[in-house]
């Protein structure tokens, strides 16, 4: 083989190898660097979530929020106190809601009623709603599960 061809082959191999090494390094570094940067939501959302903003709920109103894989119910009692509960009715797992006309929590499926402490007061629900802890962090209403 001629020297020039040999050199050509040499630099081809060097190029391939160099490219391969750099490519490999980049393709390893890229995922690693992305991995170490925390995702948008810094923690698993199953123990606590931001359920709303301070002032969002007027007294005697409520809203459903997403808490991991289940809906949660955030209410502002007629006296303006914020409380949060698991949003699933203890009867047949329909989603409960806050009724301002009743001033307490209600389930549409079989007319189950819960008072503003989550206790089942009328209708088929056999157990109270699980209660969550509400805290204020700056502007956010944070709801957390009790472990």
């Amino acid at each position: 083989m001629s020297a020039s061809w040999r050199i050509g082959r040499r630099s081809f191999v060097d190029l391939l190898l160099g490219g391969g090494v750099i490519g490999s390094v980049v393709s390893f570094l890229y995922p690693v660097l992305k991995f170490v940067m925390p995702p948008a939501v810094a923690e698993a959302m199953d123990q606590s979530v931001v359920a709303g903003k301070v002032g969002e709920l007027p007294p005697n109103s409520g809203k459903i929020f997403k808490f991991g894989r289940r809906p949660g119910l955030l209410i502002s009692t007629p006296s303006g106190e914020l409380r949060a509960y698991d949003g699933i009715c203890t009867h047949l797992n329909c989603t409960v809601q806050y009724r301002s006309d009743f001033g307490h929590i209600w389930c549409a499926c079989h007319n189950g009623h819960y008072d503003t402490s989550g206790k089942n007061i009328s209708g088929p629900p056999p157990r109270p709603l699980e209660r969550y802890t509400v805290s204020i962090r700056g502007d956010d209403i944070v709801v957390s599960r009790n472990s």
């Binding site: 191999v13 060097d14 393709s27 894989r69 989603t95």
Partner: protein, 409 residues
């Protein structure tokens, strides 16, 4: 007038000053079970004496002088006749102003109600084995109906009623069945009350009344059930069945769900299959047959769609994909299924179909989310497989380099 007042004062003082009920003391010493039971008795705690019901003189304390105490001239009646008991209890318990001294919330219509009941009527006719006040409340050691020890506390009512009503010998003369208690225990209400301790579940008195106990009349059945099962009652009332059942004197809810042994309803209750209750009255060819078949089919479709979606979402979750949104959608889909089952009581296709369509859309959405998640799993796998190719290229490059170096040598 003065003398009556003085006597009254004296008796009160005697009672208060002595603080004693000598009947009770003596009978306690004799270890009379009735007297011993009085330690937990609401009447005794309110200072009502034995003599207040049995008559006689409570002030006599000398032992051995029981004839002086248990003196018919002083009103002693001994063990009251069953037939006299309602009046005896009613002397106080129907007197509003008297009772309100002890508990302002106590109702005072028990005796009046009792006389309207089958028990009361039979008692008036002279029967001695029908229930009167003491049968259910007992006479000594009476506690409030809110006290779990009371024979008329919700969880104990079935056995109290059952003491007579489940006894074939006792009920032989009356010709009514004695299986109600065992039926009730096997049904959903019995299981809710006994197995889960759910005090919200109805017992005998919830449907039959307690003092005015009577079997519910035909028109009142759905009203009775409807006091708790309001949604179904309203749907039923607006359905073609309401008028139809009224016309033939059929007891509405009970016709399909039973009375004492109310079984947990399944989706097969409605439809045209073997277990379908619709087929008890409706035959093939009738319009109702078609409605029943369609209703059953719609619900089956919804369940099938939800199950399919659930399977896909679960697979994606097991693979480690984010599926919480899909889970929430499935919770909403489940709600439409619950509501569809309510809508069965409308006995019409349209409202139910609408609800089912809602549910089907949700199930489809959830399933699509699951499928998308699984597709992402696949995409990642393919990406990795591609990387294998590039890594092998690197290996080839190294191999060539080795060859190159060693060729030089």
């Amino acid at each position: 007038m003065m003398r009556a007042g003085l006597t009254f004062l004296l008796m009160t003082f005697a009672g208060v000053a002595l603080g004693q009920d000598n009947c009770l003391d003596c009978h306690r010493e004799l270890e009379d079970p009735a007297a011993l039971a009085m330690s937990e008795d609401v009447h005794a705690q309110a200072s009502v004496s034995c003599a207040d019901c049995h008559g006689g003189d409570r002030t006599i304390e000398t032992e051995g002088d029981y004839q002086l105490a248990m003196d018919p001239n002083k009103g002693f009646i001994g063990v009251p006749d069953p037939g006299d008991i309602p009046q005896l209890c009613g002397r106080c318990h129907s007197d509003a102003s008297y009772m309100h001294r002890f508990d302002p919330n106590l109702s005072v219509d028990q005796v009046a109600q009792y006389w309207t009941s089958v028990h009361g009527q039979r008692l008036r006719e002279g029967a001695t084995d029908v229930a009167q006040c003491a049968s259910c409340h007992h006479a000594h050691g009476v506690v409030s109906a809110k006290d779990p020890r009371s024979p008329v506390y919700p969880t104990r009512i079935p056995e109290t009623c059952g003491a007579c009503h489940a006894d074939p010998e006792h009920m032989a003369a009356y010709g009514i069945p004695t299986d109600q208690l065992s039926e009730y225990r096997a049904g959903v209400h019995g299981r809710a009350l006994f197995d889960r301790g759910d005090l919200g579940a109805p017992t005998c008195n919830s449907c039959h009344g307690n003092h005015g106990a009577a079997p519910p009349g035909v028109t009142s059945v759905s009203l009775v059930c409807g006091t708790c099962h309001g949604v179904q009652k309203e749907l039923f009332a607006a359905s073609p069945h309401q008028e139809a059942f009224d016309a033939i004197d059929e007891p509405e809810c009970e016709s399909c769900h039973g009375n004492h042994n109310i079984e947990a309803p399944t989706d097969d209750f409605v439809g045209v299959g073997d277990e379908a209750i619709c087929m008890t009255c409706h035959g093939e060819g009738e319009p109702a047959y078609g409605v029943a078949a369609t209703v059953h089919e719609e619900i089956s479709n919804l369940k099938g769609a939800m199950a399919a979606a659930r399977e896909v979402v679960d697979r994606a979750a097991r693979a480690g994909m984010e599926v919480s949104e899909a889970e929430l959608v499935l919770i909403d889909a489940n709600q439409t299924l619950v509501e569809s089952r309510n809508l069965v009581h409308a006995f019409a296709v349209e409202p139910l179909r609408e609800k089912v369509e809602e549910g089907l859309a949700l199930a489809t959405t959830a399933r699509e989310m699951g499928v998308a998640a699984l597709a992402e799993v696949d995409y990642r796998r393919k990406g990795l497989a591609l990387s294998v190719f590039f890594i092998l290229l690197l290996a080839v490059g190294l191999y060539l380099k080795i060859r190159q170096i060693e060729e030089r040598e």
